[in-house]
Symmetry: C2
Subunit: 353 residues, 2 copies
DNA sequence: GATTCAAATGTAAGCGCTTACACTGCGGTC
DNA sequence: GACCGCAGTGTAAGCGCTTACATTTGAATC
């Protein structure tokens, strides 16, 4: 090699050669050709045991690790999947991404991560960046984005999967749940409990189809129960606890204070709860609050929050599997629907009893 | 597929040519050599304007994007940084990683993520995987690991940065805070408040120098105040809310129930709080609880938790900057110490009044 | 013992890019 | 007018790997 290996001292003579072992070094050391070494690594069954053992020993002894760039060039595959999420700071994405990464790893893939801070412009830039890096496939959150993005990806034959939404009729595969139906189901419970004066604190719906679907789900339920879908007071605000508190107080100080404030996610709901506490209102006696997502927070506050449970970990895992299946051409990508379930807890009062 | 995407029909004509333009195509189209095109892209000032414009037009017109793998091979740089964290599910890592990624992106780097689930074996495997993928540098959490790992990295000249710890005497750069001193400071407050019967719920210390340092910090404070450092009851348990609750109950049911239970992090503290509630004990009247990290959870529970505030976001950002500086050889990597601060809140009772 | 044909292994051609080095041509200089 | 230096450009050698194809090996068959 310039002898390499764990005990190589070469760099003492030639300062600029840290002498990382290459396939060639392994081949020489094991007394075989590079092709055989490559086969040992990529399709071991094609090499007879006796040789394979010798090669593996050399690999071990030299501390050889294949060079990624070279491998990519020769094989046209990176075994890398890119994911772009709004932010890791929201527990639902952190959890989903964690599961996604674990599943990827189990299948021999590595995760490239970027975040968009909920901004379409940044997201597009990140998509290009991950594609340029050779991501074999891409995980995106939601599906509502500029068609040009999908065209770009299609032109480069990069499979994309949208998660956190379930859109059976969409031409891209999705892995998620029906945000709209989930919120409708929760709202139905709320209405069943006798609530008629309902307000909502929603996430920003522009460019966020999940938030928009949840709001739509509430309106669906209202309409189905003879209530006016357009009369519901809605405040849109970014997903931050503090914003939930502020929005809650704004809603409660209107002429007709609602009997329940439904929130676009648990973070906002926890904020609303804090807002209620600050106003001296007790939950659920004076006002009810609901959330969405069922993150840990929802069960930690007092009272615990009635919310919609979403299997985030499973979503991450299934997304990884579905995406790899497409990348490896095992199928063309059917969407996967996961079930969400309403979790009744203390923050919602039953007015009908 | 080959070409995927619903509208790709190309494979009907020329099965193996999805025809992604290469440097060569651009060169031919612009009537220059590949070297000139490459220079236009990498060091434009070395090409005369007239030529450059022609080349850029060709790039634009063909929709050329450089091939990452090839570039890596030839240039030996990936502009990719790898990070291996225990898990994204802990808010402190999610937050730090988010900031890390943002800072990386601002400098033109992309983040490769892997997680170890607190298991050294998995971590080592992930390190190899990220190195193989050509990460220009690596972010690791804590510094306590097999020397062979550092030898491996050194042999490959991969810069490593340890975060979440501050070790000025270490031969690797670190960006973090002094876990031991931080816990000592908190324990001192606890002792100042008149507590003498102290117990601790610690994270698993094996292979986790942060957890070990926190425990050591408590012992330091005890020793300095004439209390027996070895008499303190300690339960080690993984960082999960449920475990905190269980450990808390175990501690309280001993002969000498402590007046305060100090926890290795806020997650355990929240669990302890729940454990107290289940036992019918009120905090801080019957027993005090402290945490560590100051995650959102700590301010959401009732009472709010006395804890040590750690600037996770800043840590992520500074780590990114320091690591890139090393990668780009702007310096050889001085450690950065961040300040943690004790946050006094309702969960700790002052017995001295 | 000669022949056959898998199985095992080797040979070598790229993959698309960067960059050291070679070349070209032009405006000074002597 | 021969020579120099230099900016601008071209030539071509790899980078480390995978893989199509060529070659060797050896067990099985006749």
């Amino acid at each position: 090699m310039l002898p390499s290996g764990p005990h190589a001292r070469v760099e003492n003579w030639i300062p600029n050669l840290p002498s990382v072992p290459t396939l060639d070094d392994v081949a020489r050391s094991a007394g075989v050709s590079t092709a055989t070494v490559s086969r040992c690594l990529n399709s071991p069954e094609r090499v007879v045991e006796h040789t394979r053992k010798r090669v593996m020993a050399a690999v071990e002894q030299l501390g050889y690790t294949p060079n990624f760039g070279a491998r990519v060039m020769a094989a046209k595959r990176t075994f890398t999947i890119g994911a772009i999420i709004p932010t890791m700071e929201n527990a639902i994405f952190a959890r989903g991404l964690q599961a996604f990464q674990e599943a990827l790893h189990a299948r021999g893939y590595t995760l490239l991560v970027a975040s968009s801070a909920y901004q379409p412009k940044i997201e597009e830039e990140q998509i290009r960046s991950l594609v340029a890096r050779g991501a074999d496939g891409l995980l995106l959150i939601g599906h509502d984005r500029d068609p040009a993005v999908y065209a770009y990806l299609r032109a480069r034959s990069i499979p994309v999967l949208s998660a956190w939404v379930y859109l059976p009729d969409c031409d891209q595969p999705t892995v998620g749940f029906d945000n709209r139906a989930s919120m409708r189901a929760l709202a139905q419970k709320v209405i069943d409990f006798g609530h008629r004066s309902i307000a909502m604190i929603s996430g920003i719906t522009e460019g966020n189809d999940r938030a928009a679907a949840r709001l739509a789900g509430l309106r669906d339920a209202l309409g189905e129960n003879g209530l006016d879908p357009d009369a519901v007071p809605v405040i849109e605000t970014p997903y931050e606890i503090e914003n939930g508190a502020i929005a809650f107080q704004t809603l409660m100080q209107r002429d007709m204070a609602p009997s329940v404030v439904m929130c676009g996610n648990d973070v906002l709901a926890v904020g609303a709860l804090r807002g209620a506490r600050e106003l001296g209102l007790s939950v659920p006696q004076d006002v009810s609050i609901t959330g969405f997502d069922d993150i840990e927070l929802a069960r930690i506050v007092e009272p615990q929050i009635t919310t919609v449970h979403v299997p985030h970990r499973e979503m991450g895992r299934r997304a990884a599997e579905a995406l790899i299946d497409i990348v490896e051409k095992r199928n063309s990508g059917a969407s996967v629907e996961l079930q969400s379930t309403v979790r009744m807890r203390g923050s919602l009062r039953d007015l009908s009893v």
